[in-house]
Symmetry: C2
Subunit: 264 residues, 2 copies
C-alpha cells in the first residue's frame, strides 16, 4: 500500500514546481542580516532550505536592511526637480530622489518612467509602500542588486550548507500592457536564460531564436504569493525547478543595451 | 505520528502554489477537442482536476486544434510583403502571413515587431516550431483566444464538474529586456488583476496605484515547466493560488489602449 502511494506520488509529482511563501517574516531594519532572517523564518515555519532552491526576495527588504530609506523632509529639490514636478504633479522632493536614481525617459501625471538599475520602471522604483514613515519616507532600490543577492546567497550557504540561487525582485509596469508584474533586478547563482537555440522540437525543426528569460518568469511566479500589502511575505522559495547554475551571471545579461531599443 | 505529519504538512504547505506539468500530452490535430485531451491526459497522469485550478495552455495546441496552420507554399506574397521582406530578410511568404495577422510597428533583421491580438510581439506570433511541416508550415495565433479559453473551460466543466480558470499563453519578447517570457493572450473565469489600490500596507500607508497583472504572472510561472522544445508539455495546472473568479473578464482588459502608449 505504502509503495503504491509512493509510486503514485512519484509519478504525478515529478518535476512539479512549488512556490512556497515564507509567512510571518519580521519587519526588516537597517543593518539586519537578511540571510539570517530568511534562515530563521524558514525554521520557524518548519521549512528546510534545500539545495537548488531559488530564494526570491522583494527588493524592499534589501533596501531597508541596506538603509536605503530617504526622509523627504531632508531632501532639497533642485531647479530641475521643481520643473519636472510641475509636469508630473508629484512632490518636488520625491522627483528629486527619482531623478537622482535614474534617467527620466517619459513624464506623465503622477508618474515618471525612468531607466535605473537596468530596468525601465515607474519613479525609479522609489516608493512609499511598506516603509515605516507615514508617507514622507521612501525606499530606493538596492544600489547593486546582484551584489546584494550574492551576499544573501553566501550567508544562507554559510548558515545551512545549502547551495541555493537568489533573485531580488521589484514590481514594474510594462509599456503595452496594463498592470505591473514582478521582474528580477539582481541575481546570484543562476543563469538568467534557458536557451532553445539549436534545439529541435518534436518534429525535428531546429529553433533559431527562442531564449526564455527564466529569472523574470521566476520573479513573476513568486509574486503570485508575495502580495504587495500587509501580508508581509517578502520572501518566497521556488522549489523543484530545473535551472543552470552560474557563478558569474548577472542581471546585466538581461538588460537590453540602449542601442538595441526599438521603442523609445 | 500520522497526526503530527499531517499538522506539519498543513502548517508548512498552506497557501503553497504548485505548478504541475501534464506530461505526455498527445500531438494535437485539426478538429481535436482540447478540453477532452486535457481531461484524458490528466487522468493518464493520475492528476485529478480540482475546483479553482488554473489550466494554462500554450496557444500552439489551440491553433493546431482550430486548424490555424498555413502552408507557405500556398501563400502568394503581396507587393508590400516583398518590400518588407527585403528590409527584414525573411521569406516574403512568411512576411505576407505576418502582415495579414498584425500591424507592423518595427522592422529589424529577421524579425517584424507587430501588434496583434492585443499583444506587441515578434512576427505576429506566427512561427514554425512544434508544427509538423519541415519548415514550410507555420501556426497562427488563435483568432479569438478568450473564446478559445472559454470553450476549453466549459468543456472541462462538462467532463469533470470542476470549475477551473483557463489561460491561453504565448511567449513574446520585451522591449527593454533580453529573452522572451510567457504572456496571457486569452483568459476565461479569472479576473486578470489583483488590485491593491486603497489597501493599506503593514504601516497603514494606503496604496494608490499598484495593480498586479496576475494572468501574465501565471503565464510566466507555467512556462517554467512547459519548455519550448520536444518536451511536449503544452498544458500546465497552477494549483493553490487565490484569485478572483470573473465570468465577463477578457484579456482586452490587460491590453493598454494605443493612445496610452508612452513608447512608440
Amino acid at each position: 500500500m505504502l509503495i503504491l502511494i509512493f509510486s503514485y506520488c512519484f509519478f504525478t509529482c515529478v518535476r512539479k514546481v512549488e512556490i512556497i511563501p515564507i509567512f510571518d517574516f519580521p519587519d526588516v531594519k537597517h543593518g539586519d542580516d537578511v540571510g539570517l532572517l530568511i534562515v530563521e523564518s524558514c525554521r520557524r515555519c518548519g521549512i528546510d532550505i534545500l539545495d537548488n532552491d531559488i530564494i526570491v526576495i522583494a527588493s524592499k527588504i534589501i533596501s531597508k536592511a541596506e538603509g536605503l530609506i530617504i526622509d523627504l523632509r531632508d531632501v532639497k529639490p533642485s531647479t530641475q526637480a521643481y520643473e519636472i514636478s510641475k509636469l508630473c504633479n508629484l512632490d518636488p522632493r520625491l522627483v528629486e530622489v527619482i531623478i537622482r536614481e535614474g534617467e527620466v525617459l517619459k513624464v506623465k501625471s503622477g508618474l515618471l518612467i525612468t531607466f535605473t538599475r537596468g530596468i525601465v520602471c515607474g519613479n525609479s522604483g522609489v516608493d512609499f509602500s511598506n516603509v515605516d514613515g507615514s508617507g514622507v519616507r521612501v525606499a530606493l532600490l538596492p544600489k547593486n542588486p546582484d551584489e546584494s543577492a550574492r551576499r544573501v546567497r553566501f550567508r544562507i550557504r554559510e548558515l545551512t550548507g545549502r547551495d541555493v540561487a537568489v533573485i531580488i525582485t521589484d514590481t514594474c509596469g510594462r509599456p503595452f500592457r496594463r498592470g505591473a508584474v514582478n521582474f528580477a533586478i539582481g541575481i546570484s547563482g543562476i543563469r538568467p536564460f534557458r536557451s532553445y537555440v539549436g534545439r529541435r522540437d518534436r518534429y525535428g525543426y531546429e529553433m533559431t531564436r527562442t531564449s526564455i528569460c527564466i529569472v523574470d518568469e521566476i520573479a513573476a511566479a513568486a509574486e503570485l504569493v508575495m502580495g504587495q500589502g500587509d501580508e508581509g511575505i517578502p520572501v518566497v522559495i521556488v522549489r523543484g525547478l530545473e535551472y543552470e547554475k552560474c557563478e558569474e551571471c548577472s542581471i546585466n545579461d538581461v538588460v537590453m543595451p540602449r542601442e538595441d531599443w526599438l521603442f523609445r
